[in-house]
C-alpha cells in the first residue's frame, strides 16, 4: 500500500511526539552511564564516550542522602516496606466496602459513598497539621508504620470507588440466591464475589501502588531520616547544595525511583489505563 502525503504527515507528527515523550527518559538513561565531565562539557544529548556503571553504584549505595553516605538503598527499602502493607490493607477494605455498598444497600448509602468519595479529591494540605499531631499521639511520628497508616486512610476512598463501580455490575440475584441457600455475609463475599474480582483488584492495586510509591507530600511531612521514602530521598539527593553536583548520579537515582512503577506500567499497562479512567467516578 502506498502512503498518501497526508498519511506521511500524520505518521511524522505522531513520531515527533514519540520523541518528545521519550526525550527525558533518554536524557536520564544516557547520562546515568556517563562520566560527569562529559555532561558538564555540553554533551547531555550524546551517547557516552566512556560507558560506566559507577553512577548507578554510587546512587544505590554510596551517595550522601541523609546524614550518612548510604546511597538510596535504605530509602528504596522504606518505600517497599510502606507500599506493600498499605496497598494490601486499603484494597481489602475497599473490596468489603464496595460489597456492602452494592449488595447490601441501605437508606442513605449513596450519600455516605459520596462523602467517602470526596476524600479522593481533598488537597492534603488541609489534613497535614492535625495528622502530624495525631501521628505523634499514636506514637507513629517519623515511622514507616505512620506512613502506612496515612496511606491506608486516604487510599480507602479510591479502593472503595473501584470496587463499588465494579461490583455494581455484578448480578445481585446471585447474591440473593446464595443467601436463600443459607450462605452468610462473609461466605458470599469469599465464595462468590472474591473469585470474580481479579480484574478490578489488579486495577486497584496498580493505582494504589503507583500513587503511594510516588507520594511526596506525606513522605516529606511525616517521616524522618530512618523512614523516608524513595521520592523524598531522591529530592534530598538532587537538592543538596554541598559539593559538586553529580548529575549522572542524580539521573541514576531518578531511574531507580521510577523503575518499580514503570515496570508495573509496562507489564500491566492495560490495567493501568483502566485505573486512570476510573478517576471519572463512574468508570
Amino acid at each position: 500500500m502506498t502512503l498518501r502525503p497526508a498519511r506521511i504527515l500524520l505518521y511524522a507528527i505522531l513520531g515527533l511526539f514519540c520523541l518528545y515523550y521519550l526525550l527525558p527518559l533518554y536524557v536520564m538513561l544516557v547520562n546515568s552511564v556517563k562520566p560527569l565531565q562529559e555532561i558538564t562539557s555540553g554533551g547531555m544529548m550524546e551517547l557516552p564516550q566512556v560507558w560506566t556503571l559507577a553512577p548507578w553504584h554510587n546512587a544505590w549505595s554510596q551517595a550522601q542522602v541523609g546524614v550518612e553516605a548510604t546511597g538510596l538503598k535504605p530509602y528504596f527499602l522504606n518505600s517497599l516496606l510502606m507500599v506493600v502493607p498499605a496497598v494490601t490493607i486499603a484494597t481489602v477494605l475497599g473490596a468489603l466496602n464496595g460489597y456492602v455498598l452494592t449488595k447490601w444497600r441501605f437508606r442513605g448509602d449513596t450519600i455516605l459513598f459520596g462523602l467517602m468519595l470526596f476524600g479522593c479529591f481533598i488537597p492534603f494540605q488541609i489534613v497535614l497539621i492535625p495528622m502530624a499531631r495525631s501521628l505523634g499521639f499514636l506514637n507513629l511520628s517519623g515511622t514507616v508504620g505512620g506512613l502506612i497508616f496515612v496511606h491506608v486512610v486516604y487510599g480507602i476512598s479510591f479502593s472503595t470507588l473501584y470496587f463499588r463501580n465494579y461490583y455494581s455490575a455484578f448480578p445481585t440475584e446471585l447474591v440473593r440466591a446464595a443467601e436463600i441457600d443459607g450462605a452468610g455475609f462473609f461466605t458470599i463475599f469469599w465464595r462468590i464475589l472474591v473469585p470474580n474480582s481479579g480484574p478490578i483488584a489488579v486495577v486497584c492495586v496498580i493505582w494504589l501502588f503507583t500513587n503511594i510509591w510516588n507520594d511526596f507530600l506525606f513522605g516529606a511531612s511525616f517521616s524522618d531520616f530512618s523512614s523516608q521514602p524513595m521520592t523524598v530521598a531522591l529530592n534530598n539527593l538532587v537538592q543538596s547544595s554541598t559539593g559538586e553536583k553529580e548529575y549522572n548520579v542524580h539521573f541514576a537515582g531518578a531511574i531507580m525511583a521510577a523503575l518499580p512503577t514503570l515496570f508495573v506500567y509496562i507489564v500491566a499497562g492495560r490495567f493501568f489505563v483502566r485505573g486512570l479512567m476510573s478517576g471519572s467516578v463512574k468508570g
Partner: protein, 298 residues
C-alpha cells in the same frame, strides 16, 4: 415480636453486619477527612503560630493572608499554571487522540509511549526537566556545543518565566493521560452516524467539528475535573523543579501552605491558605460528584 426471637436475631444480624463492616472505614473517613477539615478550619480562625493554639481571632488570618505579597504571587502563579496546563493538555490530548484514531499501525506502541510519563513520580519528572532546562548543562549548553552559540533558553533561572517551565514539565507528564481519555471517548462514538454524515457529503473536518467533538462532552468534563484538581494540588513537581524559586517566583498555594505552616511558624495563616485550596477544589468537585451520583440514588 418476642415470640420469634431466633429469626429476629438473624434478621437483625443480616441488617447490622454489612453496616458493621462498613463502619471502620466510615469512621476513618469521618475522623481523618471531615474531622481534620473541621480542625484545620478552626485553626484558620485561631492565633496558632508554631503549635496549634485555640485563641479565637476571627478573620484576622484571612485578612493577613490576602494582604501578603507571597500569597498574591502564589495565586497568580496557580492561575497562570492552571489555565495553561488545562488548556494545553486538553488541546494536545484531543489532537493526539484524533490523530491516533486514524487506523494507525503500531497504535498500541505509540499509546504506551505517550502515556508512560503518568506512571512516574513528579519528583522524577522534576529532576529530569530541571537538568534538561538548566542552562549550564541542558538544552542551552547542548545547543552551544552543537555550534548555535547565540541560543539562549534560561527560563528556569528567570523570575518572570520560571512558572512556564512548570507548565512544560506538567504538560509532558499528563497530556498522555488526557489523550487516553479522549481516545476512549472517540471509540465510544457510533460509527454508523459518522458514515451517514460522510455519505451526506460532510468533510472530515466538518465531521469532527460538528459531530465528534460535541459528543466528547463527558470526556472533556472528566479531563477538566482531573486536571483542575491536579493543578490545585500540584506540589511535588514545583518542589523538585524549582523549589518555588528563583526567590519566590514559582510559589503556588501548596508550597505557600507548607512554608508558612512548617518553616515560618505561622500556622494560622497556613491553615487559612489550606482552607482556600479546599474551597477552590470543592467548587469544582462537589457539583461534579453531585451530578454523577444523582442518578444512582434510589
Amino acid at each position: 415480636m418476642a415470640a420469634h426471637p431466633a429469626p429476629s436475631a438473624r434478621a437483625r444480624l443480616r441488617v447490622l453486619l454489612p453496616r458493621l463492616v462498613l463502619s471502620p472505614s466510615l469512621a476513618l473517613v469521618a475522623f481523618f477527612v471531615y474531622g481534620f477539615i473541621a480542625f484545620t478550619t478552626y485553626l484558620s480562625f485561631s492565633d496558632s503560630k508554631m503549635l496549634p493554639s485555640y485563641g479565637w481571632v476571627g478573620f484576622q488570618n484571612y485578612e493577613t493572608l490576602f494582604s501578603l505579597r507571597m500569597w498574591d504571587i502564589a495565586v497568580t502563579n496557580l492561575a497562570i499554571f492552571g489555565i495553561l496546563y488545562i488548556v494545553i493538555c486538553s488541546f494536545l490530548g484531543l489532537m493526539l487522540a484524533i490523530l491516533l484514531d486514524q487506523h494507525i499501525r503500531a497504535e498500541g506502541f505509540i499509546r504506551t509511549v505517550y502515556l508512560y510519563p503518568m506512571a512516574l513520580s513528579f519528583i522524577v519528572t522534576g529532576v529530569a526537566w530541571k537538568w534538561f532546562l538548566d542552562p549550564g548543562i541542558g538544552l542551552e549548553a547542548v545547543m552551544h556545543d552543537w555550534g548555535w552559540t547565540s541560543f539562549e533558553f534560561r527560563w528556569i533561572k528567570d523570575r518572570d518565566m520560571a512558572i512556564y517551565t512548570i507548565v512544560i514539565a506538567a504538560v509532558w507528564q499528563t497530556s498522555g493521560f488526557v489523550m487516553a481519555t479522549f481516545l476512549a471517548g472517540l471509540r465510544g462514538i457510533d460509527s454508523e452516524m459518522l458514515k451517514a454524515a460522510r455519505v451526506d457529503g460532510a468533510g472530515t473536518f466538518a465531521v469532527y467539528r460538528r459531530i465528534v467533538i460535541p459528543q466528547l462532552r463527558p470526556a472533556f468534563l472528566s479531563a477538566f475535573v482531573v486536571l483542575a484538581h491536579m493543578a490545585i494540588k500540584s506540589y511535588d513537581l514545583v518542589v523538585a523543579l524549582t523549589n518555588g524559586g528563583p526567590g519566590n517566583a514559582t510559589a503556588v498555594p501548596s508550597t505557600f501552605m507548607y512554608s508558612y505552616t512548617f518553616t515560618r511558624n505561622q500556622m494560622g495563616i497556613g491553615a487559612a491558605s489550606a482552607e482556600i485550596m479546599l474551597l477552590t477544589i470543592a467548587a469544582v468537585i462537589i457539583p461534579y460528584l453531585w451530578s454523577e451520583l444523582k442518578e444512582d440514588k434510589r
